[in-house]
C-alpha cells in the first residue's frame, strides 16, 4: 500500500514537472501594444487604394430580430470585380434573390436574374456615388465600406475607441484582429498579415438594436491586378429580360421583405 502511494506521488511530481517544462519551452509571443489599430487600418486603406483592379469572392451573413426576440440569419455568397476608378461588377446570390450589379462608369444596371428584370440608374459618376444611391434605395452593396475610395477616412470617421486585439486566422490566412467602437455600433476587422494587408473578415454589431444583431462578411480569393475584359462591366440583357422601375429594387435585397407583424 505504502509503495503504491509512493509511486502515485512520484508520478504526480513527474507529470507536474514535465508540464512546467513544456510551458517554459513555448515561445513567448510578445504582446502587441494594442494601440496600432489605426496604423493597420491605414495600411490596408492605402494598399486597397493603390490596386487598379481587385477581384474577390465573399460570404455574408445578415442577422434580423423578430418581434418575438428570435434572431435569424440570412446568408449570401457573391463575387466582386472592381476596376478603379469607376467600374464594378458584383454578384450576390442568396435564398431570396440572385443579383448582378454592373457599372461601367456611366450606367449602373441591377439585374435580378431570378426575376429576369433589371433596373438602370443614370447620372452616377463614381463607385462611391453608386454605393450611396443604392443604399438610399434600400439595396446596400455587400462590404460597401471596403470599396470606397478612401476606406480609412470612412471607417475611422466616428470611431470612439480602437484596439488591436491580436491575431486570428480566417480561411487559413493569418490576420491582424482589430476592434473598434462607435456610438451605436461596434465593428471588427481582420486584415491579412504581411505585405498585402487585405481585409479578410468584417463584422458590424448593431449594439443599439435589441439583442445586437450582426452583419458579417468573409472575403476570400483576393486577387489584384487581374487582367480585365472591358466587356465585363457592360450589361447584356438575357432574352426576355424586362426593364423595370427603380422601386422594384426592394425585391433584390439579401433580406426577404418583412411580413406584417402578427396581430396587425
Amino acid at each position: 500500500m505504502l509503495w503504491s502511494r509512493r509511486r502515485t506521488l512520484l508520478g504526480l511530481v513527474f507529470a507536474i514537472s514535465s508540464a512546467t517544462m513544456a510551458i517554459a519551452t513555448i515561445p513567448q509571443v510578445k504582446a502587441a501594444d494594442g494601440d496600432d489599430a489605426s496604423q493597420i487600418l491605414k495600411a490596408m486603406s492605402d494598399y486597397l487604394a493603390a490596386q487598379k483592379t481587385i477581384s474577390a469572392a465573399f460570404d455574408s451573413a445578415l442577422e434580423v430580430m423578430t418581434p418575438q426576440g428570435e434572431k435569424i440569419q440570412f446568408n449570401s455568397s457573391g463575387t466582386l470585380l472592381l476596376q478603379r476608378p469607376n467600374e464594378i461588377r458584383l454578384t450576390r446570390t442568396g435564398g431570396y434573390a440572385d443579383v448582378e450589379l454592373l457599372f461601367d462608369g456611366k450606367t449602373a444596371t441591377l439585374y435580378g436574374k431570378n426575376l429576369n428584370s433589371y433596373v438602370q440608374l443614370d447620372g452616377i459618376g463614381s463607385v462611391d456615388q453608386l454605393i450611396d444611391k443604392l443604399h438610399d434605395r434600400g439595396m446596400p452593396i455587400p462590404g460597401a465600406d471596403l470599396l470606397l475610395g478612401n476606406v480609412y477616412d470612412t471607417l475611422s470617421a466616428n470611431v470612439i475607441e480602437s484596439k488591436h486585439i491580436g491575431r486570428g486566422v480566417i480561411n487559413g490566412v493569418e490576420c491582424e484582429h482589430l476592434a473598434f467602437r462607435n456610438q451605436d455600433i461596434d465593428w471588427q476587422l481582420w486584415v491579412q498579415v504581411g505585405t498585402k494587408p487585405i481585409p479578410c473578415k468584417y463584422v458590424i454589431t448593431s449594439k443599439a438594436v435589441g439583442m445586437a444583431p450582426q452583419y458579417a462578411l468573409v472575403i476570400r480569393d483576393w486577387k489584384t491586378d487581374v487582367p480585365v475584359d472591358q466587356t465585363a462591366f457592360a450589361f447584356k440583357p438575357a432574352e426576355g429580360a424586362k426593364k423595370v422601375e427603380p422601386d422594384a429594387l426592394a425585391n433584390l435585397d439579401e433580406l426577404p421583405p418583412s411580413a406584417p407583424a402578427k396581430g396587425q
Binding site: A97, D136, I204, S206, Y215, N251, L255, S258, A261
Partner: protein
Amino acid sequence: MTKSAKTLMLFTAAITAGVTAMLWSGDITPKTGFSLVTEAQAIIGRPLTPLSYAGVARRSVRRF
C-alpha cells in the same frame, strides 16, 4: 458456449439496446413534402415562413 461468453454477449446486447433507446427520437413518421424541385430554386424571392423584423443589423459603419 461458455458461461462467461454468454454473459458477455448478453451484456453487449443490453448496452446496444440502451444506447439505441437513448438516441431514438421517437419519431418514425416518414418525411412528407417530397418534391423534384430543389428547395433552393423553390424559395427564391419567397420565404417559406414569412418573418417580420423588429430590428435589422446595419451593413455599414456609415450613417446614411
